[in-house]
Symmetry: C2
Subunit: 309 residues, 2 copies
């Protein structure tokens, strides 16, 4: 860790201390944590103010939450347990780091992925990168293992984040007091500001023998397309679990819901593995025709419905 030493020291109070004195967290050249056997998972996501988060609509704490949960969602999509996080912040002098770290550490605590190091530096834009480790005792679930005949499931509803973004934008026309009144936010608005990584669902899908899995970050149509392309299968989908606040278009192309899409051959194993959790929704089947991308009988592309001329 290099950078603004004093600022990092000030942030320590916002962060969890290590559970024992053998571990090295904030304040040395590198963090050191006990290694675990099996597979080490590594993921990093970057959130840029004005690109991935509109600070007119949501707060710096929400941006921090989003940066952390985007990386955690990548671990969820492999079926892994989370480990530790490194947070690097490049931003303009005067950035309210305390508020940013409030969101980062709220997510770190909620999902038990402590922030153990990182870097702070100056830049014109606010750029927050979270790198996380994760762990699987056995092989993690890739995108490319689905086979024709596998069933396709979604854990979570689709479109809430996109609907929430639309509602937050509409709210901008209201008086300022209502804009910042978070207690008055709808469920969809909260889903946009504070997305939820589906870590338990990811582990359950892996336990159920999932052959492929991805988190919905770019939109269902794009992300299902990634599974199909990497697995060399087609997909026929129907009856998506559209969030009540969302349109069908938002459910199909809205990203950042962090819902998980996974493929698995055995519906009974899926039911067993998800007992005690919100059950996933069966939305279709993989087919042998690699070019097939159908939703309710209609072709879709990564950017949504395929439009005829």
């Amino acid at each position: 860790m290099t950078g603004e030493f004093a600022a990092i020291e000030a942030l320590r109070s916002l962060l969890q201390p290590p559970p024992d004195t053998d571990q090295i967290w904030i304040g040395d050249d590198a963090a050191a944590v006990p290694a675990r056997s099996g597979w080490l998972l590594l993921a990093a996501d970057t959130v840029v103010a004005g690109v991935h988060a509109d600070l007119q609509l949501t707060g710096l704490d929400d941006l921090g939450w989003k940066a952390m949960t985007a990386s955690l969602s990548d671990i969820a999509a492999m079926g892994g347990d989370v480990g530790h996080a490194l947070v690097t912040v490049a931003g303009p002098p005067g950035t309210d780091l305390a508020r940013l770290y409030e969101g980062l550490s709220a997510a770190a605590r909620r999902y038990q992925c402590p922030i153990v190091g990182g870097d702070l530096t100056n830049a014109g834009d606010l750029v927050v990168t979270v790198a996380v480790t994760g762990h699987c005792a056995g092989p993690p679930v890739r995108r490319g293992g689905a086979r024709p005949g596998d069933l396709v499931w979604v854990s979570g509803t689709l479109g809430a984040s996109a609907a929430g973004l639309r509602l937050l934008r509409e709210r901008q026309a209201r008086p300022p007091a209502e804009i910042s009144d978070r207690a008055g936010w709808s469920r969809a608005e909260t889903a946009h500001a504070r997305p939820v990584p589906r870590l338990e669902a990811g582990r359950a899908a892996r336990a159920a023998g999932a052959t492929a899995m991805i988190d919905v970050s770019d939109g269902l149509s794009a992300d299902v397309g990634h599974i199909a392309a990497e697995s060399h299968v087609g997909v026929r989908l129907e009856s998506l679990p559209v969030d009540p606040a969302a349109t069908m278009e938002e459910a199909l192309t809205g990203g950042e819901d962090f819902a998980l899409v996974f493929c698995a051959a055995d519906a009974d194993r899926v039911e067993t593995a998800f007992s005690g959790l919100e059950p996933p929704v069966l939305i279709g089947r993989c087919t042998a025709d690699q070019s097939e991308r159908l939703l309710d009988g209609r072709a879709f592309t990564p950017s949504g419905w395929e439009h005829s001329w």
Copy 2:
């Protein structure tokens, strides 16, 4: 990994492929590599164009090299082996990613720390973050373990990077052909553009029973001060190994040499552990007076010599 999928695919050709098909590198939600027992080290550094690297003086490939080696140097300073890297790039559209990744992957290959994932996104500034893993079979070397009486050593010379920056700036007054003629660069200029992480020296220091270690990233006076403060000791230094191109001031306060400063009690063990490597230079001793910071009998502060009024 999210972001600009097509661009990431294009970069794959610049990156090493995984050594076996069980490992997951670029192109899935997270990377997956075999876990090793012992201690997992985690470090991340961010390099911002215009802040940490002047693209008038050095190239985008050099910026990539620097971002990678800054994180590797953190692993060196714990006495660890390097593992794997995640690279996240936020930058303006049109950034020459191929040249940036040329430097990133040259360093990744040279120091055997393959790039296994990351993220690409748009931002106004070019911000490159490299997060790396490392490994120690036993406890890594912290900053805070030095004891009064321990000897202080430096592996590498001091000031070359600062001298190189000065020389590169002077070169700007020359004709353009000479500015870009890297074959004509002095050793110090190359040391600035392509700093070397001291991984072998770091492992040797750990093997020699080093009680504290840090890499010189902020400048010797600041970084020795970190060891002294964290270890609750004073330091008396003399006869620094000043790079032939550098001034004493550059040796004392110039950062980014990635030389390692370490403390160890037993000179014979240090000699044995470094056999076959460039021998480290003994530069002083830790003292019981926590407030003592002396170089050649003169007081220094984190920012260099202490000036009397």
